[in-house]
């Protein structure tokens, strides 16, 4: 009977001590349903082959293949895959280590979810002194983040039949051959699992990519090509560029020009910002009209009556002209209801909800948000929001004993754990101060819940989208100023807390799926999320 797992390890002149640690970690697996295929790619050190022979002789589960010529990691890995008899390929580098429970944990998930085709787990690094460090708590399946960095990396377990179906590793992608394979496999996988446990120790030695990504510059170029080809395959129009941080940035093309309705609830309040007194909604609307490079939009201002003065309305008409749609609102303040009313009165295919205490400064802010909607499962997109003093107000939401704004109060240059703040990626929720939502999605989930008149309407909305299977994307490539809560009282009502707990208590109190290692004491504290 074939084994469940085929561990594939290409070998080329590894440090012998490191290789022995690697071998020990395989032999120490608590799960026994495996084979190990070692492919020596013509190591120059004869002791390597001796080690392989000894290993193969010591266990029937170990196979050592000797290549006749050095073909590189792609050729060697493909030789191993060709010999694999197991249902799943387990990729292990010749100097790294598995934790003893690595295969067992994967086996448990496969038993529970028989259709899973790809599994990845958390990892850390091990240095030459044998010290484990730099643990990487990865997000759950996050396709947008995978376009920016190969966050899946180690340990990856792939269904053998699917690996063969997509043609295994491709020549020409050396250094990022695994990244390229993960992209092609995940495009076709029926189910993808993330195991939030460290199951792999990546060894750092001088000159290794684990220690220094600049050690293999060709790998970044290969990654760029791999992601570009991925975009082409899945039908995303865009160009992939490399970043100074050694990651990738996809610049998406605008493939259509839908009408966008920018909905701004306001009470016409004024505030001193940057040493200047300003009527918030006038400044917000002026920044949109004057700076936006996208032209097919209307601005729907939902204003409180009688509080909003005639002079404010006159000024808005002057600033926005025919783009302005005026919607009076005469009831007791309810942010959610005002937004819903604005959306109902609007006519665009895409809605951008934006607070009056915001200011646009990137001309392509609309394009930067709406191009993500070429993917039908993207339900909401939000930008980087900056406080008056330039620090971060929100990089999306994360949950950790409550709902928080990620990176609150940090520098806009902050990269975050494993550079997560430098690239667009999935989030559990987004701040309603500025979000783009396709109209049909907004209506499908019933808009904003009016049970949350002041706070948590965005937390609730994000959870509703998630429950309906939509992804939410936060992007650092669009930034806006958000002078948080200067337009109204930021306090939270008990009713809203109870309503949130009643609907989503276990989600909000649990582990965040996309920023699992975010700690609000380090990565920004803001316990009163509201728009």
């Amino acid at each position: 009977m074939p084994p469940r797992f085929s561990i594939v390890t290409p070998v080329f002149d590894p440090p012998l001590e490191a290789f022995r640690s690697c071998a020990s970690s395989v032999l120490a697996q608590t799960e026994h349903d495996w084979e190990w295929i070692l492919v020596d790619d013509c190591s120059t050190n004869p002791k390597v082959r001796e080690e392989l022979h000894l290993l193969a002789a010591s266990s029937a589960r170990v196979t050592a293949i000797e290549r006749l010529s050095n073909g590189g990691i792609v050729a060697a890995s493909n030789d191993g895959i060709a010999r694999a008899a197991g249902d799943f390929i387990v990729l292990l580098d010749h100097d790294d280590e598995l934790t003893p429970n690595a295969l067992h944990e994967n086996s448990l998930v496969i038993d529970q979810h028989p259709t899973v085709d790809y599994l990845y787990s958390d990892e850390d690094k091990v240095n030459e002194a044998g010290v484990y460090y730099d643990s990487f708590s990865k997000p759950d399946w996050s396709p947008e983040r995978l376009r920016g960095q190969n966050y899946c990396s180690h340990l990856s377990v792939l269904r053998t039949s699917l690996v063969r179906e997509v043609g295994a590793f491709r020549p020409g992608f050396d250094g990022s051959q695994d990244y390229d394979l993960f992209l092609r496999v995940t495009e076709k996988a029926r189910a993808i699992a993330h195991i939030p446990k460290v199951l792999y120790h990546w060894r750092t030695v001088a000159g290794s990519a684990a220690l220094d990504p600049e050690a293999k510059p060709y790998a970044l170029v290969a990654a760029q090509i791999a992601v570009q080809e991925h975009l082409n395959r899945v039908g995303i129009s865009g160009t992939v560029e490399t970043t100074p941080e050694f990651y990738l940035r996809t610049s998406r093309n605008l493939t259509r020009h839908p009408k966008v309705s920018i909905v701004i609830p306001t009470c016409g309040a004024a505030k001193r910002i940057w040493g200047r007194d300003m009527v918030l909604v006038e400044t917000a609307v002026a920044s949109i009209v004057e700076r936006s490079s996208y032209s097919n939009f209307e601005i729907v201002v939902v204003y409180d009556t009688p509080r909003t003065t005639d002079s404010v309305l006159r000024n808005l008409r002057e600033i926005a002209g025919k783009k302005l749609v005026e919607v009076p609102y005469g009831k007791t303040f309810n942010f959610s209801e005002k937004c819903n009313l604005g959306v109902v009165r609007s006519s665009g295919d895409i809605v951008i909800l934006i607070n009056d205490d915001t200011q646009v400064f990137s001309p392509d802010w609309i394009e930067g948000l709406i191009t993500f909607f070429d993917e039908p499962d993207v339900g909401m997109v939000g930008p980087l929001l900056l406080l008056e003093d330039g620090r971060i107000q929100s990089a999306g939401h994360f949950y950790n004993l409550g709902a928080h704004n990620a990176a609150f109060g940090l520098s806009p240059n902050e990269r975050g754990p494993f550079s997560v703040l430098t690239m667009p990626a999935e989030r559990s929720g987004l701040t309603m101060a500025c979000v783009a939502i396709p109209r049909h999605v907004f209506e499908e989930v019933g808009g904003l819940c009016v049970e949350f008149p002041r706070a948590f309407n965005d937390v609730d909305f994000g959870n509703k989208l998630d429950a309906r299977g939509y992804r939410m994307i936060w992007t650092p490539h669009v930034a806006l100023h958000h002078f948080e809560s200067v337009s109204r009282d930021p306090s939270v009502e008990d009713d809203e807390i109870q309503a949130l707990w009643g609907r989503w208590g276990s989600v909000v109190l649990g582990r965040d799926r996309f920023l699992p290692n975010f700690d609000f004491t380090i990565h920004g504290i803001d316990t009163t999320i509201h728009s």
């Binding site: 819903n340 009313l341 109902v344 009165r345 993917e375 039908p376 499962d377 209506e443 499908e444 989930v445 019933g446 808009g447 904003l448 819940c449 009016v450 049970e451 959870n463 509703k464 429950a467 309906r468 299977g469 707990w501 009643g502 609907r503 989503w504 208590g505 276990s506």
Partner: protein, 124 residues
């Protein structure tokens, strides 16, 4: 004469026909449509809220059946009858939600979206 507008025949004429504007179209159409759209959104939200609350209750029940119950038992404070009552109370709450009119109406409203989502996922 426009039949949809109010008109009254001269008083004293027994054959007079008085046509009143029907109440349900007395308001302007756009407002009615707007109110309906808001109401549909509210119902959808309420349905998703019901589903979420049911999920929360089930999660709490499960937690109760596992960790909490074991801890209570170990502490020697387990009152079997109160546990059963609490359990039944939560089940009743779930039944109430599942049998509510809102749930059923909302399920009808959201129903057509399901196959569409499936198709989109497959194509995606």
């Amino acid at each position: 004469m426009d039949a949809s507008t109010d008109h009254v025949a001269p008083s004293g004429d027994p054959s007079a026909h008085v046509a009143f504007r029907p109440q349900h179209v007395s308001g302007s159409m756009p407002e009615n449509v707007e109110e309906l759209r808001l109401e549909v959104m509210r119902l959808r939200d309420e349905l998703i809220g019901c589903l979420a609350r049911e999920g929360e209750l089930r999660a709490r029940l499960q937690k109760f059946h596992t960790g909490d119950a074991r801890r209570d038992e170990a502490m020697g404070i387990l009152n079997h009858q109160s546990v059963v009552a609490r359990n039944e109370d939560l089940e009743d709450q779930i039944d109430l939600i599942l049998n509510s009119r809102t749930w059923k109406i909302g399920a009808l409203l959201l129903g057509p979206a399901k196959p569409l989502r499936k198709i989109l996922r497959k194509r995606g």
